[in-house]
Every structure is written in structure tokens, then in C-alpha cells.
């Protein structure tokens, strides 16, 4: 019931983020008053198709000691498409001085974090609203950002600002199955593919870059690309998602 409502919202946000990134990429030399077209002309675009060559049906069901049939015997049905857990980002790119910091949120919905993967630019503040009827206690032990928001009820929300880049694993102290990843990045040039697997990173300053295809179970897949201002570079990713338990092999 949330999903049809959420998806457009998120897409809109992504578009906005892309725009911002593009602006930021162009702005180092231009003034803030410069028209957008001018800035846009100074940056390039990376665009492509992501293919998940392995399905996620290999994911394990919950461990049940008595193997009677039940919901736990089946793999959990992913709320969002797995494609949305993929992040594509550009490494080592120059960052514009001013970047608008939009607020993001990771909701606790139906004892799951939503979204499961959230890429953010360094310094972004993320809200953790509790949409469930139960208490949640969001915390992280990751070195990029270690925090514990404590227990809070439905409707309450707490926020964390991620000022260091890195992977931040999110957990709930009450529901140990809940987990999410906030991927804190050094620049704003990143994208999450659409359900169809199409992605687009805009406003990338021209130059030669390494683009990373990230998934939490996969070793980062990298490709180099040359971004020319005003042009769109095509870059497709094939991310082999291994079966569960074999993630790093």
C-alpha cells in the first residue's frame, strides 16, 4: 500500500538529486547566477543499463529449527526490486563547493528498513521515522558512523547526519533481522537504477573516472569512463549477484 505511493516519490527525489549533482559539477568555475543551461553544458552524463545476471531467489529463508511449513520456510518476498539495492557511483571526482543537502529518510516499515540501501553524499542527514506499531531501536556499529538512536515508538523519528564516507550498517536492537545500508559517498555523482535497470548519472564534470557498481553482497565492480562535457556516455553493468552464502566468493 505504501509501495505505489513511495516509488514515484523516490524517483522524483532521484531526479532532483541528479539535477543538483549536475549543477554542482558545473559550478566550480561558474557563478551561482549562471543559467542552468550554461552549467549543464559544462558537465557530462553517464548513462547505462544494469543487468543482474543472477536472481535473488537464492536468498535463504529464515532459519527454522523445526522444519514445519510456514512463512519462514519460504524466502522473504522483497518489498522492492533488487535492482533498487544497486548503487552506481563515480570515484574520486571533484566536488562543487556548494551542494544542496536534501534530507533523506530510512523508514522502519513492517519491521524492515525502507529503503534497504540508501546512497547519500557526505554530510547528508537521514531521518529514521518509525512507521510500525512496535518500538524500533536503530543503531549502527560501523566505523563510518556509529550511533544508537534508542527506542522510539510509532510516528517518532530520529535523524543522523553522516559526515564520513563509508558503509554504515543499520540494525534494530529489537528486531535483529532488520538491516539496511547507508552508503556514504565522497561526491554526489551516484545513481540507483530504475526497476528496469536504467540509470543515469548527470552533471559529472568532464574527465576520466572510475565508475563503481555496488551491491552489498558483491565485490565492487568497476569500469573506467571518460566524461565529455555536454555528452552522454553509455556504460552498462553486469552485476553477478551470487547465491546467498556465496556472496564473496
Amino acid at each position: 500500500m505504501i509501495r505505489p505511493h513511495e516509488a514515484p516519490r523516490r524517483r522524483g527525489r532521484t531526479v532532483r538529486l541528479t539535477l543538483i549533482c549536475a549543477v554542482l559539477a558545473v559550478t566550480p568555475l561558474a557563478m551561482a547566477a549562471r543559467p542552468a543551461s550554461a552549467r549543464r553544458a559544462a558537465t557530462g552524463r553517464i548513462e547505462g543499463q544494469v543487468l543482474l545476471s543472477s536472481t535473488l531467489t537464492a536468498r535463504r529463508p529464515r532459519f527454522r529449527i523445526y522444519a514445519e511449513p510456514g512463512p519462514g520456510a519460504r524466502p522473504p518476498v522483497p518489498i522492492v526490486d533488487e535492482m533498487r539495492n544497486v548503487v552506481l557511483y563515480v570515484q574520486h571526482a571533484s566536488v562543487p563547493e556548494t551542494v544542496t543537502q536534501p534530507r533523506f529518510s530510512v523508514a522502519q516499515n513492517d519491521e524492515q528498513f525502507l529503503p534497504h540501501v540508501l546512497p547519500v553524499y557526505r554530510g547528508t542527514t537521514v531521518d529514521f521515522p518509525n512507521a510500525d506499531d512496535v518500538f524500533h531501536n536503530v543503531f549502527s556499529l560501523s566505523s563510518a558512523k556509529s550511533f544508537d538512536l534508542g527506542r522510539y515508538p510509532k510516528g517518532a523519528s530520529k535523524s543522523v547526519t553522516f559526515d564520513r564516507s563509508g558503509t554504515v550498517q543499520l540494525f534494530c536492537h529489537i528486531h535483529s533481522d532488520m538491516t539496511a545500508v547507508v552508503l556514504v559517498l565522497d561526491n554526489p555523482y551516484f545513481a540507483v537504477p530504475t526497476d528496469g535497470g536504467h540509470y543515469m548519472i548527470e552533471n559529472v564534470p568532464p574527465g576520466e573516472y572510475t565508475v563503481v557498481g555496488w551491491h552489498e553482497r558483491v565485490k565492487a565492480i568497476t569500469q573506467t569512463v571518460r566524461v565529455v562535457a555536454g555528452e552522454t556516455v553509455k556504460l552498462d553493468f553486469n552485476i553477478p549477484i551470487p547465491p546467498a552464502g556465496d556472496a564473496t566468493r
Binding site: R59, P61, Y66, T167, F171, A244
Partner: protein, 803 residues
């Protein structure tokens, strides 16, 4: 029959033990049956006991094996449950958000290549310790998704096996494998070996967002405490083995080790020391090093079996002895009841055989079929025997009757033949002897008369001459010669058997002695005569003349048997005959040729002779036989050819006393008398001799030359005291005269005189009290005879008068 056959074979085949075996075979059937039954009962009891003990053993073993299998199942279930509990506990621990977050975070950051987060490791360690401290010797480990130990806790070491790869441990391998669901629960169970300690462990995967990020391993110690617990739960011997190593045991170490090394399956029989055990095995899984952890439950078999067997043995001894006794008694009773009719039957047969009785039938109604069949067969046999015997008897009787008839016929015929023969012999003899007898008798009669005259007148001459006269000696010679001549005439008369049988008591010795000189003459000088007296005063009652003839005949035969000379022995003896009566014997034994057995039976036949023709009469022995038989005696003959012959004549001993003859004594005075005597004799010389003798003695003598004259001379009023008459006279014989005289006149004393007696007079039996005066007689004979007769009559008359 089979038994006989066996008895026959037994001595050959079983010679050494034959004696005992045979003596056993000869024991009564009932005894054998009793022994056999008792032995059988004992055997059956023993066999049953052995079989039952084996059965008990097997059953006990099976029972124990079953119980052990049950125990095993229980143990397996217990173990499964307990290890499910382990897995569940592990799974619960895996739910810990702290552990998950720490491990997941650590993992992610390790992947990212960031520096190792010791704080996360410590967190996990701390978390595990918190739980593990209360585990009472258990183990708690966390591994990463590769099976390497991330952190852990045991009571023995705070950081066990850090970093060690346990991916080989089946439980962990299975926990990490997402393809394996929990259907095979046991796959999550394993043993674990940590620093010499063993654990039974379960592993649960750490799953985060559908991905395995590690495992939690939870285990309880496998040690002596488990042994104690199992011992309490199952009440058996317990051995826990890790491979061939003993982790804990209720048995002695040596036996435990042995049990641990045994790799047998469930229900196996283990022999440890003196005891046997039924073993059951429960596998607790393999450790990371591949060591097999096992629990062995051992049920001791020996004590249980021993207890059961001893009880069984006691019962069997009691009941076995009872069975043997009762079997023996039962068999004895049975055999008795079986054999009783048989015994009765045997007794019956025995009795029947003793009495030779075939008529009685034996009947048993209450005996067994076999006995009744035997009885029936026996009765049939007896009936058959009886029939046969009756038939036989009937035939025997018939035969006997026929035989009797035949025998009677034969006897009759023999008697007739004998009678015929006898009469024939008598006829012949009488014919033969009639001639001799007539001749000899005539001569003897005339000789006797002449000898009486010679003798009488010689006597008278002797009396008249007196003793001193020189002619006396010569006259005595004449008298003796006359006496001898009288003897010879006697012999002649005896030979012709024309003599009167006048038995009197004799002394055999005197008779033999009297004949000895005559016998010497008869047998000749080439034969020696021996007379043996084995008995004194052998008195017999016989006619002396006849006895002399017997001896004479036997002596003549003996002489004829010894033509070359030899010895003739006459023996007088004494013996008892078959009826016990005393006999005097007269044996005549020669050393002659003997009598062949072929003719021995015929020697007494008349006219049987082996002598040359003309030499023997064939009458000698038959005469002897006749005389002996006439005298009431017997004659026997013993003879050996070439050695000699003995005739033995036996006479009954006389009971009367011997009357000794008073010898004639010319010198003695003759008895005198005054009675009147009628003297009758046809011989003038004899008549004259008698008249003179009697008149000299004082008697009045009336003489007559014949009977007729005598009857005419005597008047009715003449007193005649003695009638002295010759027997043989012309016209009227002595007895006829007596008869006629007695018819006319008063009864006188009657004295006969005779020289011989012919057949006719012999047939006329003389009265017993008749007085006989043999010719030739002497004057003394005459005088004494007359006087004695008169005196006897006078005595009788006075006795009659007195009476």
C-alpha cells in the same frame, strides 16, 4: 528270535564288557525297565536343562538386546532432543542483535578493506561469554560465513580455537549450506574436540536478510558427567568413546578400552574379562578431526544369566530327581502290572510242566492284549498237545492191549511148549531111567537084603563071641564092608532117583566130610581136592542121599572139565539171598575149561551134554537142579572160559536142631521089651535075622512070609503091639497089608522096612508118623526103632488117657 541272536553275537562283538552286559541282560525285565526309564528321565531332564539354559541365555541376550535397543532409541531420542535443544539454543543465540550487528558490521568492514575492528570481536566475545558462563562446561562458538571461528567460549579456555577453520565440522558445514533445510536435523549435530575435551554440539546459521553471515555453535560436554547421567538414566554400564579413546566409563579402564575398540553393532555380545555384555551403540557424531564419538550401553549378561540359570538348575535338580524317581517307580509299577499276568502265566506253565498237566487252561481276562494273545496261543497249543497226547494214549492203550494179548498168547504158548518139553523130557527120562532104575533097583534091593543078612549075622556073631575073641576084628571088617556096600546101593538108588524123599536136618559139613573119601576116588589123583569151611554148623533141611547125589554130580562134572588136572574146591558158606533170608551155600569150583556163554543157559536141560557120546548121560545137572528145587534151594553158575566154573547151591538155613544119629555100637546093650511083634517079610534071611534079634531082646515075635500069611495067622484075640513089615512084597505090599490089618484088628504100631521104593509106592504118600527102617539095618537099628516107636505110642496113649 532277536534276543537269542543278540545273545549269540554278544560274546564275539563285546567280549571285554560282555560279562557286565550279559549279567545286565539277565536281570529281570522290570529292573531293566525301571533303570531304563530312570536313565531316560535323567537324560531328558539334563537335555531339557541344557536346552533351557541355552534358551535362557539366548532369551536373556535377546531380552537385553531388546532392552538395550530400547535404551538406545531412548538415548538417541534424548540425544536428538538435547541436541535440537543445542541447535535451538544456538539459533536463539543467533537471533541476538548484538551478535548479528557486530558480526555483520565486522564482515562488511573487513570486505571493504578497512582496519580490523577489535571492538566488534570483543563485543561478540563478550556476548558469548555472558551466555557461556552459565553453560556449565559447555561450549559456545561463533564462526563467520566460512566456518572460521570468530569468537568463542568454553569454561576451560576463554578464547578457544580463535580463527580455527571448523568448516569440516558437519554441523557447521550443514549450517552454512543454504540448500540444506532442517529436515535432516541430525545433520546439524556433531562432536567437537577442544583441547582434549569433547563436546556434543549443534550449529545454527546466522542469517541476515536472507544471507548467511556465520554460525553459532553450541555444545554440551561429553565427559564423566554425561556418563554418570546415563548411568542413572539407563542403569547399565556406560562407556563413552572417542575413536578408540575412552572419554568416560563406568567400567574398569581396561575393559572400557576394550569395549571402545570394539566396533560392533547394536545387540552385539561383548566379552570383557569374565563377564559378557550385550552392547548397544549410540553415535554422537564426528568431530572436526573426524573422530567418532560414541556412547556404548553395556548390559551385563553373565550375572543375570547366572541368577536365572542357578534358579533353573536348582529347580531342575529337584524336579529332575523327582522325575527320575517317579519314572523309575512308574516303570517298575508298570512292568509289574505288565509282568504280573506273565508271571502268573509262567508259574502256571511251570506247574503244568512239573505235573505234566495239559488239561488245565490258563485264563487271564484283565491283562493286556499281548498277554491275552499269548494266553490264547498257549491254550491252543495246549489243546493241540492234549489232543495229540490223548490220541497217543488211546493208541498206546490199544497197543498195550494188543501187546498184552500177544504176550499172553506167547506166554501161554511158551508154557505149553515148556510143559510139552517137560513132559517129553520126563517121558524120556522116565523111559531111560526106568530101564536103569529097574536094573539098579533090582540089584540094590537084592544087595540090600543080602547086606542086611551079612551085616545082621555079623553083628550077632560079634555079640556072641564077646570082645576078647580073636575073630572079633575080622568080623568088624566084614560088618564095615557090608556097611560100605549098603552105602553104594544107596548111591545107586539115588542115581536112579528111585528113593524116597525124606528130608531132615543135616549139617552140610558132616555131609561133605562123609563124602570126601568117595570124592577122592571119583575125581582121580590128578585133581587136587580142597574143602573149605567158611561156616560152622551149616544146618539145612534136605534128604541126605539126595544132597550126596548133588555133590557127586557136580564133582563128576568138575572132573570132566579138568582132563589135564587142576583143583576142585568145595566150599561151604553162608549168605543172604535177595529176600534177606539166610542161606547156606555149597560151592563147587573147578579150574577147568569153563562153560561157553552160548550154552550156559542150556546146561540144566535134561539130556544136554557136551561130553563125548556115551560118556555123559545129560542128566547130571538136571537131576541136581531137580533135587535142589525139591529141597527149596537155588543153584547158580559162574563160569569163565579157560578159567573155571563155580556152581553154587544155596539152601535155606534150617531152624530145627540137628538130630544126631546114634552110631551103632555093638557093645551097647540093645533096648529090650516084652511086647508082641508081627514080623512080615518075603525074604527068609531078613525075616530070620529080625526074629532072632527081637526075640533076644525079649519080644514075642510072630513071623509071616507074606501079607496074606500074616492076615491068616493073626487071630482076633491076639494082641499085636507092633506090625513090622516089608514094603515091597509079592501079592500084598506093606501098606496094603497095613490097610487090611487095620480094618480087622486093633491099631498097632506100624514100622516099615524097605530096600527101595518104586514109583508106585512113592506116589502113595506115607503118613508122616510112619516109621521107616531102611535096609540094610543093623540089630541095633531094629531094636532101637522098635523100642522108640513103642515108647512114643505109650507116651501118646498116657497123654490121651490123662487128657
Amino acid at each position: 528270535m532277536q534276543p537269542a541272536d543278540e545273545d549269540g553275537r554278544a560274546p564275539r562283538t563285546a567280549a571285554p564288557s560282555g560279562g557286565a552286559l550279559r549279567s545286565f541282560r539277565r536281570t529281570p525285565l522290570s529292573f531293566r525297565l525301571a533303570i531304563f526309564s530312570a536313565a531316560l528321565a535323567a537324560l531328558v531332564t539334563c537335555a531339557t536343562f541344557v536346552a533351557l539354559s541355552m534358551q535362557v541365555r539366548t532369551s536373556t541376550r535377546t531380552l537385553f538386546a531388546d532392552e538395550l535397543a530400547r535404551n538406545n532409541r531412548t538415548l538417541v531420542n534424548l540425544q536428538r532432543t538435547s541436541r535440537r535443544q543445542l541447535v535451538l539454543t544456538a539459533a536463539l543465540l543467533a537471533e541476538s542483535p548484538t551478535l548479528r550487528s557486530a558480526i555483520a558490521t565486522y564482515r562488511v568492514e573487513q570486505q571493504a578493506g578497512a582496519e580490523q575492528r577489535a571492538d566488534l570481536t570483543v563485543t561478540v566475545q563478550d556476548e558469548l561469554e555472558k551466555v557461556g558462563r552459565d553453560l556449565n562446561g559447555g561450549v559456545l562458538l561463533a564462526t563467520d560465513e566460512h566456518g572460521r571461528v570468530f569468537a568463542g567460549y568454553t569454561s576451560a579456555s576463554p578464547h578457544p580455537m580463535a580463527g580455527e577453520d571448523l568448516s569440516a565440522l558437519p554441523a557447521i558445514r550443514n549450517a552454512l549450506d543454504p540448500a540444506i533445510n532442517m529436515k535432516e536435523n541430525d545433520a546439524y549435530l556433531s562432536g567437537l574436540e577442544v583441547g582434549g575435551h569433547y563436546f556434543s554440539v549443534g550449529a545454527a546459521p546466522l542469517i541476515l536478510d536472507g544471507y548467511t553471515i556465520g554460525t553459532i555453535v553450541f555444545g554440551t560436554p561429553v565427559d564423566s558427567s554425561l556418563v554418570a547421567s546415563l548411568r542413572t538414566d539407563f542403569a547399565t554400564q556406560v562407556v563413552i568413546a572417542a575413536g578408540t579413546h575412552v572419554v568416560g566409563s563406568t567400567l574398569p579402564a581396561v575393559h572400557a578400552l576394550e569395549a571402545a575398540r570394539d566396533s560392533g553393532g547394536a545387540g552385539r555380545l561383548l566379552s570383557l574379562g569374565n563377564d559378557e555384555y550385550v552392547a548397544g551403540v549410540v553415535h554422537l557424531g564426528r568431530t572436526q578431526l573426524g573422530t567418532d564419538l560414541r556412547v556404548l550401553l553395556l548390559q551385563p549378561l553373565t550375572p543375570a544369566v547366572a541368577a536365572l540359570t542357578s534358579a533353573l538348575r536348582r529347580d531342575f535338580i529337584v524336579y529332575g530327581v523327582l522325575a527320575v524317581v517317579f519314572a523309575g517307580l512308574g516303570a517298575a509299577l508298570l512292568s509289574r502290572s505288565l509282568l504280573r499276568p506273565l508271571r502268573g502265566f509262567i508259574y502256571f506253565m511251570h506247574e503244568g510242566a512239573n505235573r505234566d498237566d495239559v488239561h488245565h487252561e490258563f485264563n487271564v481276562d484283565d491283562a493286556s492284549l499281548e498277554i491275552r494273545a499269548l494266553n490264547l496261543s498257549f491254550n491252543r497249543l495246549m489243546a493241540s498237545v492234549r489232543g495229540k497226547r490223548e490220541e497217543l494214549e488211546r493208541r498206546g492203550t490199544e497197543l498195550a492191549a494188543a501187546n498184552e494179548v500177544l504176550t499172553d498168547e506167547i506166554k501161554e504158548r511158551q508154557r505149553v511148549e515148556r510143559a510139552l518139553r517137560e513132559s517129553e523130557a520126563q517121558l524120556r527120562q522116565s523111559q531111560k531111567l526106568e530101564a536103569i532104575g529097574t536094573l539098579a533097583g533090582g540089584i540094590a534091593h537084592d544087595f540090600n537084603n543080602m547086606l542086611t543078612v551079612i551085616s545082621g549075622f555079623t553083628q550077632m556073631a560079634l555079640m556072641r563071641l564077646g570082645k576078647e575073641h580073636e575073630a572079633v576084628h575080622d568080623l568088624k571088617q566084614v560088618s564095615e564092608a557090608a556097611h560100605s556096600a549098603a552105602g553104594l546101593t544107596h548111591q545107586l538108588l539115588a542115581f536112579s532117583r528111585k528113593q524116597v524123599m525124606q528130608p531132615r536136618v543135616l549139617d552140610l559139613e558132616q555131609v561133605v566130610d562123609g563124602m570126601e573119601s568117595m570124592l577122592h576116588r571119583l575125581i582121580g589123583s590128578h585133581i587136587a581136592l580142597e574143602v573149605v569151611h567158611s561156616m560152622d554148623a551149616a544146618r539145612i533141611k534136605a534128604d541126605p542121599g539126595q544132597l550126596e547125589q548133588v555133590l557127586l554130580n557136580l564133582a563128576v562134572n568138575a572132573r570132566d572139565a579138568m582132563p589135564e588136572g587142576g583143583t576142585l574146591t568145595i566150599e561151604i558158606g553162608f549168605r543172604r539171598n535177595r529176600t534177606g533170608a539166610q542161606n547156606a551155600t555149597l560151592s563147587v569150583r573147578d579150574t577147568g575149561v569153563g562153560i561157553p556163554p552160548a550154552v550156559r543157559d542150556r546146561i540144566f536141560e535134561p539130556f544136554f551134554t557136551t561130553k563125548e557120546v556115551g560118556k555123559g548121560t545129560g542128566l547130571g545137572l538136571s537131576t541136581v537142579y531137580g533135587i535142589v528145587a525139591q529141597s527149596g534151594g537155588t543153584i547158580e553158575v559162574e563160569s569163565t572160559v579157560g578159567v573155571g566154573t563155580t556152581f553154587t547151591v544155596a539152601f535155606p538155613i534150617a531152624t530145627e536142631y540137628l538130630v544126631t544119629d546114634v552110631n551103632d555100637d555093638a557093645d551097647a546093650a540093645l533096648p529090650r521089651g516084652t511086647e508082641t511083634i508081627l514080623l512080615v517079610d518075603d525074604e527068609d534071611a531078613v525075616l530070620e535075622f529080625a526074629r532072632r534079634t527081637l526075640e533076644e531082646c525079649g519080644y514075642t515075635v510072630v513071623k509071616a512070609h507074606s501079607g496074606v500069611e500074616a492076615l491068616t495067622i493073626v487071630r482076633a484075640d491076639d494082641r499085636i503091639d507092633v506090625l513090622l513089615t516089608d514094603i515091597i512084597m509079592p501079592q500084598l505090599t506093606g501098606p496094603q497089608l497095613v490097610e487090611r490089618y487095620l480094618a480087622k484088628f486093633a491099631e498097632p504100631c506100624i514100622i516099615y522096612m524097605t530096600g527101595y521104593m518104586d514109583d508106585e509106592t512113592m506116589r502113595v504118600e506115607l503118613d508122616e508118623d510112619v516109621v521107616l527102617l531102611r535096609k540094610p539095618f543093623s540089630a541095633a537099628d531094629l531094636a532101637r526103632t522098635v523100642r522108640t516107636t513103642l515108647d512114643a505110642r505109650a507116651a501118646l496113649a498116657s497123654a490121651v488117657d490123662a487128657g
